[in-house]
Symmetry: C2
Subunit: 382 residues, 2 copies
């Protein structure tokens, strides 16, 4: 067996250019410092975050980091005292320490990262990303695999919000994903939309595949668990946009049902516990189910079997929740003889960011939900 | 919100029949004793294992239990002393205790069960399973959700094998799965095949869907990780049977490559570490990859990203390994901008048992592998 390392190394030197010694890899293997040569950037303990770029890389000047919700929650809990007070200073110090130690912002407990906004500073001559210096971009690959250096000590951040004003630089590989921020939407809104843009793109694809099947008559009934959330509301909008029939939103509480009221995103809004293998199928059935396509956007464990039991034989379930248990899904379907197709919600679908932004532009209902969420965050964070 | 309980309760009393008071549920909710009314049989701590059946149930007289590999391994490790000797007596006692306490054979540590062979004793008038008294059957739903009572103290079992001769009874619900054992194959062979019959059925379906797509030219290249194993070899046979193009088997060691030699199951057999994000894609590429369809049958953690990097853009990955991490798959694909469809390997596809048995009958290569495995087991177990 030949060592795999050569496979990823594109030989890409230009005469007279001052590039690092090792050739680059489109997935960033050349930036992995620990463990050396045996890991992808996401699994690595430490990345090479130097500013100098390889020929297929892009350097971005950082403006804002957006820590992912699970990571920030873990940090906030850790730095909240018995009196319930969050110590923003020590939280900030820990984030600085993580980035200094690992060369990337990857929470060591949750393993997750987040995304960032910045301005393109330098584009390598062989970068396939289509970016130009000066482009205002958001990175759509996780911070957990993005080389990052912070130079301002995060002095403009009080540690009390997932949104972190920051100075420094980040590196994009050949096979990274970044999207130019639109000029007609605020960066905050665009970022919030792009953070969950995999969901609407995949839902639209699955709905279109369904309606294209020769053996299908009526448009599919789509049930979205967590329909009032970010990915859930975009999933509903995408379902409507791509030809779904009845759309049923499931939410846990009255307050979330009220959010969807009048948005036109769903034909039925149902209040039910998505973890209830008895209650959920009954509630979905009462609203016109079972589902032909069930979309799980509820970030709590235990929704696998309820989703399976709410889905018709021959139907599809898309799991977007990171709380999904693979074994619970696989065994759960087998245990009740459910012939359902279950998809791991891949956050990458070509064109996903543009599609999600288009939905927000064109669908006043989903746009209103996102803007309301932004307002609420601004109110919450002094 | 109306309570969900009514949804599953089919009102199904026959005049004059002595049935239990509560109506039955096709997924067995009526047999859940703890926690009462809030759980499916698999998640339940304790099931009602009484012999009397509801009108849609079937009672099977048990002949053999087949503990699943993960469960038996855990039990064997627990009951092996520091001298490396397995105490079969205490292992047997623990299995008896589990069944007596829980009303089902579900390993409390692994959560897994296994399957059983037996003879149909009584069929309720409303059972949809199509079984008749006297049928020699294997249950294809997990023992972890099957009401079970053992009456012989497992006296014919020495605790040293996953295969447990047993007397007692088991209950099948309306929506259980059981297959009549074929007369032309030994029960041991049939059971071993049916234990993994979800894999070939789903692989065949995915290959057929692929070849039916209007935008596809050549038949798909199928890569099976763990190609010499039970589900892996059946997956290879199914791929060939359903119109795959190039078939590449990946195995970890020379000995497994030798097993596939001359079977005709694969066009290429590659020895590589399926956990290597660098080595696996390189090895698959050298053998004619990347894959259009990758089938993961390797029961070790960490194969998600290597599988993703071995699959072409637009391709499909089917994860059959219970060691699959949902998050590693979802984030792994996003992290390298991989537009791949990732399926949770659902163990149930209608007709799966019959299809797998047909493959074994018609494909001498895969049959030879299974028979060799049976011989090896018989040699190992005195």
């Amino acid at each position: 067996m030949v060592s795999g390392e050569q496979y990823f190394l594109s030989v890409s030197r230009s005469e007279g250019e001052s590039v690092p010694e090792q050739a680059s890899s489109p997935v960033g293997l050349h930036r992995v410092l620990e463990p050396a040569g045996a890991s992808l950037p996401q699994a690595a303990r430490r990345l090479d975050n130097r500013a100098q770029i390889w020929p297929d890389e892009v350097r971005v000047s950082v403006e804002t980091l957006n820590l992912d919700a699970a990571s920030y929650r873990q940090l906030a809990e850790k730095h909240t005292g018995p009196d319930g007070r969050l110590d923003g200073e020590t939280l900030r110090a820990e984030v600085l320490d993580i980035v200094a130690t690992r060369g990337k912002m990857q929470n060591p407990v949750t393993g997750s990262g987040g995304m960032l906004i910045g301005t393109v500073e330098e584009v390598g001559p062989q970068s396939p990303l289509g970016l130009r210096p000066g482009d205002h971009v958001a990175t759509l690959v996780s911070l957990s695999l993005t080389p990052l250096e912070i130079t301002d000590g995060l002095q403009r951040w009080d540690g009390r919000s997932e949104r972190v004003p920051a100075q420094g630089h980040a590196i994009l590989f050949g096979r990274s994903i970044a999207a130019v921020l639109p000029e007609d939407l605020s960066p905050e809104l665009a970022l919030m939309v792009m953070d969950v843009c995999g969901a609407p793109a995949l839902v639209a694809r699955v709905v279109r595949e369904y309606t294209a099947r020769p053996d299908r008559g009526a448009p599919p009934t789509v049930v979205v668990l967590g329909g009032a959330g970010k990915s859930g509301s975009l999933a509903l909008a995408a379902a409507g946009d791509s030809g779904a029939g009845r759309r049923i939103a499931v939410v846990p509480v009255e307050r979330e049902a009220d959010l969807l009221e009048g948005t036109g995103l769903a034909d039925e809004v149902v209040i039910a516990d998505a973890r209830s293998p008895l209650g959920l199928p009954e509630a979905v059935a009462a609203a016109g189910g079972p589902a032909d396509i069930t979309v799980v956007c509820v970030d709590v464990p235990g929704c696998e079997q309820p989703a399976i039991l709410s889905t018709a034989q021959g139907g599809t379930i898309i799991f977007f929740s990171m709380a999904t248990s693979f074994a619970a899904a696989a065994l759960g379907a087998e245990g009740v003889a459910a012939d359902v197709r279950m998809l791991v919600g891949n956050g990458y679908v070509p064109g996903h960011a543009a599609y999600a932004l288009e939905l927000v532009r064109e669908n006043a209902g989903v746009r209103g939900l996102f803007e309301g969420r932004l307002d609420a965050e601004h109110t919450r964070t002094p």
